[in-house]
């Protein structure tokens, strides 16, 4: 991927990620999130990780976002009211952010490995779907199974916390 494309997509991801938080209208926030995810997917393509890019679009930008929009419309959430700006909280949050970015900048300056360009992959097309599947079901099976339990627990939680009347 040419550096220009990288910068365009990285900027797209970041700008729309900020828009998710800054927008007062939930529909606009959700749509900004879609665009941010698309930028992220493009970055994955640039890393030759096609499978993750496709999943990013299908699952996040597709399924999850449709669900988000449905819920926003079903609950008829209105645009958030303007709140009084809490100056100390904003100042503290801004300070932490600036400190974090400064730290990241300092680390990246000293990080020699990050400045070297890696050689392109030996094989032009990696069979990444097969590789991911193989890893998940062979060497990394234990964490994968635990994720199954995690999803079960999350499902129970959704039912318990959102059902109108518990039986």
């Amino acid at each position: 991927m040419s550096p220009i494309l990288f910068y365009i997509f990285a900027a797209m991801t970041l700008v729309f990620a900020v828009a998710v938080v800054a927008n007062r209208n939930p529909v606009a926030s959700a749509l900004s999130l879609v665009v941010s995810f698309l930028g992220l997917a493009a970055l994955f393509v640039g890393l030759d990780a096609y499978f993750i890019a496709v999943i990013q679009v299908l699952v996040y930008a597709g399924a999850v976002m449709v669900l988000f929009l449905f819920i926003i419309m079903l609950l008829n959430i209105q645009a958030e009211e303007r709140r009084k700006i809490n100056v100390p909280a904003y100042a503290a949050g801004g300070l932490v952010t600036v400190a974090f970015i400064a730290q990241l900048w300092f680390v990246l300056q000293k990080f020699e490995l990050g400045k070297t360009a890696f050689a392109p992959l030996a094989e032009k097309h990696v069979d990444d779907v097969r590789n991911v599947g193989n890893t998940l079901f062979s060497t990394h099976n234990l964490p994968f199974q635990v994720i199954g339990v995690l999803i079960l627990v999350a499902t129970i939680g959704v039912v318990v916390l959102s059902k109108r009347e518990l039986k």
């Binding site: 730290q103 020699e112 060497t139």
Partner: protein, 495 residues
């Protein structure tokens, strides 16, 4: 000899079985479910001593540390279920149920899943499994904290915990990413191997570790990542508060110990990480103990006290030797302190639940004259408070002694000095409860009735606080010689 994973699998199956029974039984009385779980989990404590030591793999270690923390997780869950039984009448008031027992079945089964997560965490030696099991625990806590849907404080606590928990998870994952990027490994033994053989840049490694410490700092409630604790602890259902302050803390510390191990021997990294930990320990001790002084609500007081105790535990972690790759006396101190902390904290929460149900409130003034209403409960709470304060002949004293001994051994005298000052502050607010119980006149004089199971649990915990305060050898023997990480990675062939 049984494979070690069968313990976690049994716990998970138990959780699923409870959900199934809950769905298909026609009875409104869900107490049988919790009692079944208590029975099976107690049996598992016994079975955990017959685990095949060779049944681990690249993600999952089977060693003395893992076994110790698994027993802690099981015992905590058992006591939490006993508390949940005692608390069910309060809980039912705040659930939108059409039948009397609605929603209680899930409230009994979710801690069982949390227990499985805690047990996985005790054994996890790979960042992937550490992360996944940590999330299993955290997500089930999000649900449990917000469980009382008609209680605004519980919902508020749930939202606060969710947002800050998600933020801390973000830091944790970002830290893991940096470390993976630098070493190319997620397995802790393989990371140690890579750090010893490859030249890894120190600055980015420290950055990754800092993010990791931030994430774990949220989980163990260390200053400056403690702001969520008082509100969440006060708003959550009381059994869950107990579970959070014991289970979540124990798991956070076992992960902290395991994660730090590969980095301690690296020149220019270990010393700095330990210095940061020492600073966090000092601030946590001061904040927790000083902020607890003016509290009038017992639950909130216990929340601040749990921050203070995280500080003492961090003193032990910060006293780890940075030259050797094993933990020695500091690791033993962390283990023993957590065991003692478990006993006395669960004991205080058990008494709190019983008293709060009868007095309809959990402020300190609701404990006035408890000695006249129920000498048994008053004595149990007296034991817990003395042990939390660190009076000799209780488990809390031995724990603090081991922690400060480890700090002296590491030459961190300033930490010991701050520690002793804060212990003195601790005496004041713990003994305020004792004064309320023994020297104040009770508001109402109705005697308190206690269910037999709760009475047994309170009796056993009180007894254990004294036994391990006088005769700590059984726990210490369990904790001796924690196995160091294998010198070479065991799993690289599979990659």
């Amino acid at each position: 000899m049984i494979p070690s994973l069968s313990l976690e699998i049994t716990v998970l199956l138990l959780g699923i079985l409870m959900l199934l029974v809950e769905s298909f039984s026609r009875s409104d009385d869900k107490r049988g479910l919790a009692k079944m779980a208590i029975g099976i989990l107690s049996a598992l404590v016994g079975f955990s001593f017959f685990v095949d030591p060779a049944s681990g793999n690249a993600f999952y270690a089977v060693d003395a540390t893992a076994h110790f923390f698994k027993v802690l997780a099981l015992l905590t869950t058992i006591v939490v279920l006993i508390m949940a039984l005692e608390y069910s009448s309060v809980l039912a008031k705040y659930l939108p149920g059409v039948t009397p027992g609605a929603g209680l079945g899930e409230f009994y089964s979710l801690p069982v899943f949390t227990c499985a997560g805690l047990m996985f965490m005790a054994s996890a030696v790979d960042f992937l499994l550490i992360f996944v099991s940590l999330e299993l625990v955290t997500i089930s806590f999000y649900i449990l904290v917000a469980y009382m849907r008609r209680h605004t404080a519980s919902l508020e606590a749930g939202v606060k915990y969710l947002i800050l928990g998600a933020l801390s998870t973000g830091f944790l994952v970002y830290g893991i990413t940096w470390i993976f990027g630098l070493t190319g490994e997620t397995n802790l033994a393989a990371i140690q191997h890579a750090l010893a053989t490859k030249a890894v840049a120190t600055t980015p490694l420290l950055f990754g570790l800092m993010l990791l410490l931030t994430g774990l700092g949220f989980k163990v409630a260390a200053v400056p990542f403690q702001l969520w604790v008082p509100d969440v602890y006060q708003g959550a259902p009381t059994p869950i508060t107990a579970f959070l302050s014991v289970g979540s803390k124990a798991a956070g510390f076992v992960v902290l110990l395991r994660v730090l191990q590969p980095f301690l021997g690296v020149p220019g990294v270990g010393v700095k990480v330990l210095a940061v930990l020492a600073l966090m320990a000092a601030l946590t001790m001061l904040y927790g103990n000083l902020a607890a002084l003016p509290q009038d609500n017992f639950k909130r007081l216990l929340a601040y006290s749990s921050i203070g105790h995280a500080g003492y535990l961090l003193v032990a972690v910060a006293s780890v030797s940075d030259t050797k790759a094993t933990f020695g006396s500091a690791g033993v101190a962390v283990g023993f302190y957590l065991a003692g902390y478990l006993l006395m904290t669960l004991l205080s929460f058990l008494v709190l639940i019983v008293v709060a149900r009868h007095s309809r409130g959990d402020d300190i003034l609701h404990f006035n004259g408890l000695a006249k209403r129920s000498p048994f409960l008053a004595f149990a709470l007296l034991t817990a408070m003395l042990s939390l304060a660190g009076v000799p002949f209780t488990a809390g004293f031995i724990g603090k002694f081991l922690v400060f001994a480890a700090a002296v051994q590491a030459g961190k005298f300033w930490l010991v000095a701050i520690g002793i000052l804060t212990v003195a502050a601790g005496f004041y607010y713990y003994l305020r409860i004792v004064a309320a119980m023994y020297w104040h006149e009770p508001g109402d004089t109705t005697p308190i009735t206690i269910a037999p199971l709760t009475r047994t649990a309170i009796g056993a915990l009180t007894f254990a606080v004294f036994v391990f305060g006088i005769f700590p050898q059984p726990i210490l023997r369990q904790l001796k010689d924690p196995a160091p990480l294998p010198a070479t990675p065991v799993h690289t062939a599979a990659r």
